[in-house]
Symmetry: C3
Subunit: 280 residues, 3 copies
Amino acid sequence: MMPLDLPLLHARLAASVPLVQCITNTVVQQFSANVLLAAGAAPAMIDHEADSAQFAAMADALLINLGTASNHQLLAADAAISVATEIGKPWVLDPVSVGVVDFRSIKIRQAAASRPTVVRGNASEVAALAGAGAGGRGVDSTDAVDAVLPAAIRLAQATGGVVAVSGARDAVVAVHGAQVQIARIGGGHALMPKVVGTGCALGSLVAAYLAAGREPGTARLAGDFAATVAAHAHFALAGLAAGAQAAGPGSFQVAFIDALHALTSADLARADVQLETRAL
Amino acid sequence: MMPLDLPLLHARLAASVPLVQCITNTVVQQFSANVLLAAGAAPAMIDHEADSAQFAAMADALLINLGTASNHQLLAADAAISVATEIGKPWVLDPVSVGVVDFRSIKIRQAAASRPTVVRGNASEVAALAGAGAGGRGVDSTDAVDAVLPAAIRLAQATGGVVAVSGARDAVVAVHGAQVQIARIGGGHALMPKVVGTGCALGSLVAAYLAAGREPGTARLAGDFAATVAAHAHFALAGLAAGAQAAGPGSFQVAFIDALHALTSADLARADVQLETRAL
Amino acid sequence: MMPLDLPLLHARLAASVPLVQCITNTVVQQFSANVLLAAGAAPAMIDHEADSAQFAAMADALLINLGTASNHQLLAADAAISVATEIGKPWVLDPVSVGVVDFRSIKIRQAAASRPTVVRGNASEVAALAGAGAGGRGVDSTDAVDAVLPAAIRLAQATGGVVAVSGARDAVVAVHGAQVQIARIGGGHALMPKVVGTGCALGSLVAAYLAAGREPGTARLAGDFAATVAAHAHFALAGLAAGAQAAGPGSFQVAFIDALHALTSADLARADVQLETRAL
């Protein structure tokens, strides 16, 4: 498999400042917006059902995270997904809390049925969405990422898009016909799961990279895969840098935003990314 | 009165990582979640009326804070309280802004009528909920805590649970028959009320300690009292540590999260806790 | 034009701790509250339609920002604006995202028709609200502020109040009969637009200064103008101080809150404020 040009993707993000519509949970709106700004994108948390479709047509990418969705935000999400799907705009589904409670799970499964460009979740969420687990409440171990790879691959087949599993060593998966493309991304830090919203914010950064990575004339799925890996690499490198100077989760969060901002395109070449292609 | 084993309660919290459902105001959701994560618990801000009861049955404890509650969040709170009450799960009511505006006050009084395991508020809120004051908008002095002790005791009689009053020197109160148990907790820092949500986040930490402190075979009210004191002690020690290195409320907030995380079970033995038993 | 006594306005703010009702978007609620607390005011995010009017009558000032307004928050805003208008309480409209999406724009224009004491936005928002532009999504340059001055003046004529345009060098405008009063405020830092909610939080600080600046016997518009300039000066000085020690947007945000808190009344005399009076 060809190595991915992560520095180029970062440079494109920096040059294009993609506008990301985030319909996301209220716990992480501020952090997600600050992550996008620090990393070089522009956030917009427009989530009213009357504005949502109109804005989805203008934004460069869309993130859907129904973690605290009210009925109004659910309507806004439906409308935005419809627009993104119709005009082929990249969108990310973060299936937070799928498999934990029934109403939320139904809504998330409905969203997943619209075939998101990328699904990004932790191991238990990906397992639950793929129908292989009961969802989860917490932090994933490396083993957990390995354990759900078959479920992630099945989910990628079902959506036709990319599936990303966050953990100590993240996995990004795409299925091209009879071949499975897998990237494993190392880095980050043990304090990361101690800061609320790191996973959710990563989902919004994936959306930003998807917008930056789209180019006429390149294969859609391969480009989306590379963009998803780039977002994870950017995040993991920033986590590594922040961890080196943090005294706890409070200072980690501050240093992490600084590091997302400080990273240069050249730095992305240092990311710990392992690529693999398997037969399905 | 027997001294409380705060290190043991901290160790139980760390070992059990209690899952706390927070139906809380949107201003403090992120901070409350980060406080819970830093202190060793797991937050879940599930507040949709369709998911709320189901999740309340799974969570280890529940926090209700109606500070910015929409009608939907009010329904979710009702449902979660019903479940918690029915199955005897510990829950905390933070009566923020009771006595200030009528609609909110009615809803908070209705919640209080369901007999929360712990009511945690500032002096004016506790006074208002006990029917002895007009509510308040701001910061309490030590005097204020002393002044509302009779109201807190009356409220504790009415709910049958614990009542905690936050101030420069916090008070935790429980009524056992004809005896009143009072703990006074010192520590914290003058910058604490300059960071939004410190009181609200303390409420969620009380819920976490309640879950960690419950044990078959021990007296319920005594255990809940000890757990409430432990949460306040953990908070106060972290405030003290953060204040020692903060240059203002911004750096205080960061240092406070770090300190909540850094405190060990042994550190809890150093808490400034004064116990007293009085005749009612 | 008489020089403005910014230290006096800061001293009044510190002495009166004005209570500011913020009906604002959920992305910036926490940051806005922390900005108000650090600067010496008291925030209250009461935004339920059933409490809103009652609380508006008690609060010292009101901020309206409909950035993520649900239908319920829109009703709350309507009610609070009606009360503020009727009893002559100062209120600020932050027209965030006006001109970008239709539904939101209609609601913001309706709010503007109630003649806010101050409108505070970035260049594209002020242009859109004045009917001179299409709204915007992002950061303004100094040029942008200059370019929209005519629109700001037109808007100030229409509302009869103050209009403030945020940018690298902020502008504050008021029209007194045939004369236009303009203040330009320098300071701040390039990292400021990389922290979500700085503009929104500035709007809430303007509301706090308006409350502190109102005095029986002084000319209303001149006093509101001075108060608006003072809020911008306080903000700009804090931005300058924070920028001098920040390593990125994360540490900038922390240092900014510390600096808002550390600034003394005397410091306000060092603000870079340029006053000008022009014929209309």
